[in-house]
């Protein structure tokens, strides 16, 4: 296992290095150059021949190392080397220096931007992931055990619904019904927009809810969690069903029955234990998502999370921000792949790392 891990870590390093190259190449592949967004903004505010547009652009080029040969600027971004006397020192993204934002929050470090958003995304993604697993796995198991039953067809229909439903439409319907109409009718309703309220509000049964309390956060969390979960539930319940059907056909399930085990034990002990093994991959590969957030859901619910941060960065041409987020996602993806492999050795005695 030791040598296996060393080998995997080396592979992992190579993959991450390649990823940084691709990410950096992206910067230079932006139509009109990486600063086209900034220039457009300068022109918009000052006019095409406005004061200092040209000299400001030149200064920005220098600030961001865009006037250096590509290999130099890439290496400075990656590891902070070579150091240049007339330019500020860089720490290098590999050592955690994500640089400063150009546009979304000019002058603020990307790290602090991420810090302000990460908590919200972790909260939303974790609750959606947990809720989905809790619902999807029992649905999948039951659908498989009672294949072609009414329950199975219902689950299938539900999964199609969940997969086919555009998130923005479903999200808006939920907002309309549970946030808007329910409030209009004087019923219990759920607040939406942002992760917390700005000022106290009244909800029937609960009374006055103060901003930034746990209750306030909880209420804001409900709708986006449900909308996001529907998507995961649809996929994961299907996945569980397929996996369970596969296991139920195996000889050892018949052996368990032949021993005289009651059906409930045959399913919950002998079949389930095997059917859940492939779900390890799903759970591990969900990890990058926990940090990356859900772009559509966050947008619909105006949820201040990582997904929306990424979109704002893309729209504004805030490349240090975008590149940092891509880099983090790449690292998390390869790490969680490794994690999945290691987890397999714990849940499946047949698998040994070698």
């Amino acid at each position: 296992m030791g040598t296996y891990l060393v080998r995997r870590f080396l592979q992992l390093a190579v993959v991450i290095l390649l990823a940084t190259m691709v990410i950096y190449a992206l910067l230079n592949a932006v139509p009109g150059g990486p600063l086209s967004g900034v220039r457009q903004e300068l022109i918009n505010t000052r006019g095409a021949t406005g004061a200092n547009v040209a000299s400001d652009m030149a200064r920005l080029q220098r600030d961001f190392d865009l006037d250096l040969p590509v290999w130099q600027s890439y290496l400075r971004w990656l590891i902070g080397w070579p150091k240049l006397a007339d330019r500020p020192n860089r720490g290098g993204i590999l050592f955690g220096d994500l640089g400063d934002s150009w546009q979304v929050a000019r002058g603020q470090s990307v790290a602090s931007l991420i810090q302000s958003r990460l908590g919200n995304t972790l909260l939303l993604m974790t609750s959606a992931t947990l809720l989905s697993l809790l619902v999807a796995i029992p649905i999948g198991i039951n659908a498989a055990v009672r294949q072609y039953s009414a329950f199975d067809y219902l689950a299938t229909t539900g999964a199609f619904f969940g997969t086919a439903m555009p998130v923005f439409w479903f999200g808006m319907m939920m907002i309309m019904i549970f946030a808007y109409y329910f409030k209009q009718l004087g019923w219990f309703y759920l607040p939406t927009g942002n992760a917390v309220a700005l000022r106290p509000y009244d909800v029937p049964f609960l009374g006055t809810v103060l901003p930034e309390t746990i209750l306030d956060r909880g209420l804001h969390l409900v709708l986006p969690t449900i909308v996001l979960s529907l998507l995961y539930m649809a996929a994961w319940s299907r996945y569980t069903r397929t996996s369970m059907l596969e296991v139920l056909r195996q000889d050892y399930v018949r052996t368990a029955r032949a021993k005289g085990l009651v059906e409930r034990l045959v399913i919950s002990k002998h079949a389930l234990r095997n059917a859940l093994i492939p779900l390890v991959t799903i759970i591990a590969l969900q990890i990058p998502g926990l940090f990356g957030g859900a772009i559509l859901t966050e947008t619909v619910f105006n949820w201040p999370g990582m997904g929306r941060l990424y979109i704002s960065g893309l729209n504004a041409g805030d490349w240090p921000l975008v590149m940092s987020l891509l880099f983090i996602t790449a690292v998390l993806t390869v790490v969680s792949n490794l994690l999945a492999d290691v987890m397999y050795t714990f849940v499946d005695p047949r698998i040994r790392l070698s």
């Binding site: 294949q147 139920l248 056909r249 195996q250 000889d251 050892y252 018949r254 052996t255 368990a256 029955r257 032949a258 021993k259 005289g260 085990l261 009651v262 059906e263 002998h270 234990r273 095997n274 093994i277 849940v347 499946d348 005695p349 047949r350």
Partner: protein
């Protein structure tokens, strides 16, 4: 009527698989009995329905298969009508089954000792520790060396032979009244095979266990069985005591199995190959399933074989039963058999069936 004590009786059992290609008649009207304290050998080519027959007895056939007809009587109790809650008390306890393919029959994620122990937990209510201890004793009893350590192994860490012994230990754990052994010694080498057979025989003697022994190995049948059932394409085609089957097999298929001309004192170890292939079991015709491969049919110029399904009926006065038109008449088709025993069959007919001889 004879008065024999049957521990298991199977009457007109039909188990079909409802597949996209049609109804697979895997078991198509099986009649069998297992006498108390005896060993029934069941032989037949691969795919003839041996395993499905006895899985049906324990009601272990799953989708897309279903028992469509018939009756299974164990100790005078009709198993097919039993509620599932009573059935689980029979499985693994009163009737145990040892399956083919031991490695895939063991759960890959549990230790083999725990899997054997589960039987004791289920039927004797032992706690896990006691159950594992009994499991280790069982494993030692079936000849697994260093049983305590081997109990900690996972199935994939075992050889086929070792895994088969684990299956046998599991099957014998509760000293069942009836043990169904589905090719239990196929994966084992000769010495271990002999040990396992001895063990089964000892148990049979000591506790009066009855055994159904499904096998391809006629040598094992000769050694172990009291009665023999020969199966072909989902049906029993011949049933008699072990002496008779080797001395005077009646049904052409059985004769083929034994090597056409049985030589006294010589026992064939492997099934002889018979020309032709095993018939398709999807929607079979009302005819003899063996007809396309039967030389006797051609030699005797029989047309009835393809028009009417022969029935499993006695030949002579013994318990010897055969499913073949060489021995039974069919009055409704004006047919008289070449080796007529004077017993008449009233079979299912093909729509085109016409009286054979005026």
């Amino acid at each position: 009527m004879e008065t024999v004590d049957n521990i298991l009786e199977i009457h007109n059992l039909k188990t079909y698989f409802f597949t996209e290609d049609g109804e697979v008649h895997a078991v198509d009207g099986v009649d069998l009995e297992v006498r108390r304290g005896e060993t029934l050998g069941v032989v037949g080519e691969s795919g003839c329905g041996k395993s499905v027959t006895f899985m049906s007895v324990l009601r272990l056939v799953g989708m897309p298969g279903r028992i469509v007809e018939g009756n299974v009587v164990f100790n005078g109790q009709s198993l097919l009508e039993l509620p599932e809650s009573e059935m689980v008390q029979i499985r693994g306890n009163k009737i145990a089954m040892i399956f083919q393919q031991p490695i895939s029959s063991l759960n890959p994620v549990f230790k083999v000792g725990d899997q054997v122990a589960e039987v004791f937990e289920t039927h004797q209510g032992l706690n896990h520790e006691q159950a594992v201890q009994r499991a280790v004793e069982m494993l030692a009893q079936v000849g697994i060396p260093d049983a305590k350590r081997r109990a900690e192994s996972y199935p994939h860490e075992m050889s086929g032979g070792m895994a088969q012994r684990v299956m046998i230990a599991m099957g014998l754990a509760m000293t069942p009244e009836l043990l169904i052994a589905d090719e239990p010694t196929t994966a084992l080498d000769v010495t271990i095979q002999a040990q396992i057979l001895d063990l089964m025989r000892a148990l049979k003697e000591r506790i009066g266990m009855s055994i159904v022994f499904i096998t391809h190995d006629l040598g094992v049948v000769a050694e172990m069985a009291d009665h023999v059932a020969v199966m072909y394409a989902g049906q029993i085609v011949e049933y008699t005591d072990v002496g008779t089957i080797f001395r005077e097999p009646k049904m052409p298929y059985t004769q083929g199995l034994l090597g056409s001309i049985p030589v006294l004192g010589v026992i064939k170890d492997e099934l002889d190959s018979i020309p032709g292939t095993v018939p398709n079991l999807v929607d079979p015709p009302n005819a003899c399933r063996f007809a396309p491969r039967c030389r006797a049919r051609v030699e005797h110029g029989l047309t009835i074989c393809e028009q009417a399904e022969p029935q499993l009926l006695p030949v002579g006065s013994t318990t010897h039963k055969v499913r073949c038109w060489l021995y039974h008449d069919c009055p409704s088709l004006n047919y008289v058999a070449p080796h007529s025993t004077g017993i008449a069959a009233e079979p299912r007919l093909e729509p085109s069936a016409t009286p054979a001889r005026a």
